[in-house]
């Protein structure tokens, strides 16, 4: 592997992402964990830049850091005894260990197969040649051969999430 400016920047953002993730899972104070999560999400935004996906990077900052991190902080403030946790509060750690191990294997397979596995049709293409700009993304959303159905299903998903949130969070109807 050649050692240039890209690999240095990749290293920096990887350290930010992994360090933030490590801080998230190890901090006892949930608010501190949420702030570490913001750091980690910012690192992911940097990795999106390296992958030539500027739109995703902007969305990462706007939606994940700007909205979802706020939602998580709200959720922390809704819970009881958020800062007085002195020991790890998890009664089902063996089950969660199995689930996270399975998830890790699934992600690993999901990364290895498309990149190095058989039948990689787009392997020679740079990622930026598939969907290079926001214009390409907009075309891909409405092109009948590309992402029309996922686009419309996304709006259905958003509606379902909205109704679900209202049903759960309303104290009466």
């Amino acid at each position: 592997m050649e050692f240039n400016i890209h690999s240095i920047v990749f290293l920096i953002f990887s350290v930010i992402t992994l360090g933030g993730g490590l801080g998230t899972v190890t901090s006892r104070n949930l608010i501190h964990g949420a702030v570490y999560l913001i750091v980690s999400l910012f690192g992911v935004a940097g990795l999106f830049i390296l992958l030539s996906a500027p739109f995703l990077a902007a969305i990462q900052v706007l939606v994940y850091i700007g909205a979802i991190a706020i939602l998580i902080i709200f959720a922390v403030m809704l819970t009881r005894s958020m800062t007085r946790m002195t020991e790890i509060y998890n009664r089902q750690w063996s089950l969660s260990l199995v689930v996270s191990a399975l998830l890790f294997v699934l992600l690993l397979v999901g990364i290895i197969l498309p990149v190095w596995g058989p039948g990689t049709a787009n392997a020679a293409l740079q990622p930026s040649e598939l969907v290079a700009t926001t214009v390409d993304l907009g075309v891909a959303f409405v092109d009948g051969n590309q992402f029309v159905l996922p686009f419309e299903v996304a709006s259905l998903l958003l509606t379902a999430a909205m109704i679900g949130a209202i049903v759960i969070a309303r104290d009466r109807d």
């Binding site: 909205a67 109704i163 949130a165 969070a169 309303r170 109807d173």
Partner: protein, 120 residues
């Protein structure tokens, strides 16, 4: 990588801001007097006295508002790439976006009817 080069100024800004903040913090810690008192370390030094801990449970209503905000936020995220190109795409793209918004309007009217948009 063109994207990488386009974002070089933002990278420079990031590095500069980190260096500046570190430098200012170190300089003020090195050369400034550090004598904390009860009044100085209060959350608002010259404001109101805190009447209780800020660490308390918040009503679940805040959560509902935050979720609705995120959902409308993501809605706009999907509209943005479409809005960049809709002039070149013609009628088909317009119909698609009308369907997209129509499905979302169902959720919007549900939130409206249930009073989730009101604070009370």
């Amino acid at each position: 990588m063109p994207t990488f080069d386009e974002f070089a100024p933002i990278g420079a800004l990031l590095i500069l801001s980190v260096v500046m903040v570190a430098l200012i913090t170190i300089i003020s810690r090195l050369f400034g007097p550090y004598r904390p008192s009860l009044r100085k370390t209060a959350p608002y030094e010259s404001g109101m006295k805190p009447i209780g801990p800020a660490v308390r449970r918040f009503p679940v209503r805040f959560y509902l508002i935050a979720v609705l905000f995120i959902l409308f936020d993501i809605e706009v995220v999907f509209m943005l790439p479409w809005a960049v190109v809709f002039r070149q795409l013609g009628l088909f793209a317009l119909i698609e976006m009308v369907i997209f918004i129509a499905i979302l309007l169902v959720g919007y009217f549900y939130a409206w009817r249930k009073g989730a948009l009101e604070w009370e």
